[in-house]
């Protein structure tokens, strides 16, 4: 029984660790890969936010999800405009693939939840997700970015996602 719980916990930990490990792996990505990772990270959070808007009845959670959809859409619109201007084609890579895979698993798992259980799962995951993305921005993506405009956009992104992380943490504390 205890063993079963432990293996479930280990599996959960492994899932959580996956994107971080994949990000650490991609040392020194190029601008096309960075753009793809940043854009993908945004799109995944938009998808999570839309799921929350479809499922949650909690006003604070819905307001937060609305903010995620709005802000990440704005940043990604800007990212698309920038790569078009620079003539860069975002390039898929193991990091963005790992992020997408982990997020798809979460969406599927959370689809089965409802009410307070869904709210808690969504908000807790938003805290973890923004931590992971912010860690990657700070340690890898921003230092690796070559183009000045891309770097500036990522820096605005880091400030924004740090706000989102704090907001999610506050919200998570309130849901307990």
């Amino acid at each position: 029984m205890i063993l079963r719980h432990m293996s479930a916990a280990a599996a959960a930990l492994a899932l959580l660790a996956l994107p971080a490990a994949a990000m650490a792996q991609a040392a020194k990505p190029n601008d096309a890969q960075i753009a793809h990772i940043a854009y993908t990270a945004g799109q995944l959070d938009i998808a999570a936010g839309k799921q929350a808007l479809a499922k949650s009845h909690n006003k604070a959670v819905r307001d937060f999800a609305q903010e995620m959809v709005r802000d990440h859409t704005a940043v990604n619109d800007q990212a698309l405009a920038l790569v078009k201007k620079l003539g860069v084609t975002p390039q898929a890579n193991p990091t963005s693939t790992a992020l997408s895979g982990a997020a798809a698993a979460k969406l599927k798992a959370y689809a089965k939840l409802s009410g307070a259980a869904f709210d808690k799962a969504y908000v807790d995951n938003e805290v973890a997700y923004h931590k992971t993305v912010n860690g990657a921005l700070e340690s890898t993506l921003i230092p690796s970015a070559q183009n000045g405009e891309l770097k500036a956009l990522l820096q605005t992104g880091l400030k924004l996602f740090t706000e989102h992380q704090h907001h999610a943490e506050m919200l998570a504390a309130g849901l307990k």
Binding site: E67, R70, D71, A74, V75, D77, Q78, A152, Q155, T156, K159, L160, T162, E163, H166, H167
Partner: protein
């Protein structure tokens, strides 16, 4: 030969009149309420730009959101709350003296302060 300062009655009268005139202008300047001014505070890259150092009651702030994101300028004391989509501007008239802290409702880590003289 030492030049002796010449001071006629007429000259002294003129000097006194001039001094009075300057005083009168100064008094009028104080009594007349100052023209309200509009200061611009620009929001860019998740931060408020500098706020004016010498605001008075009746002045206005023109908020310019130059960021790609939607922000608000929300007074902690409730005296103003403007919602600014990207590229939007809005003007707030400051009606009370004192220090007003403001923040963004969407990104509460964004903060600023207005100091308003009476």
């Amino acid at each position: 030969m030492i030049a002796k300062p010449v001071s006629t009655f007429a000259q002294r009268a003129l000097a006194a009149a001039a001094a009075l005139a300057i005083l009168a202008v100064a008094v009028a300047g104080c009594a007349k309420p100052a023209q309200p001014r509009t200061f611009t505070v620009t929001i860019a890259q998740m931060a408020y730009g500098p706020t004016p150092p010498s605001m008075r009651v009746g002045d206005s702030i023109k908020w310019v959101n130059a960021d790609i994101l939607q922000h608000t300028a929300t007074a902690k004391d409730g005296s103003f709350d403007v919602d600014l989509p990207p590229k939007a501007t809005a003007t707030t008239r400051i009606a009370h003296a004192g220090t007003v802290d403001f923040y963004c409702r969407y990104h509460p880590g964004m903060t600023g302060r207005l100091s308003v003289a009476g």
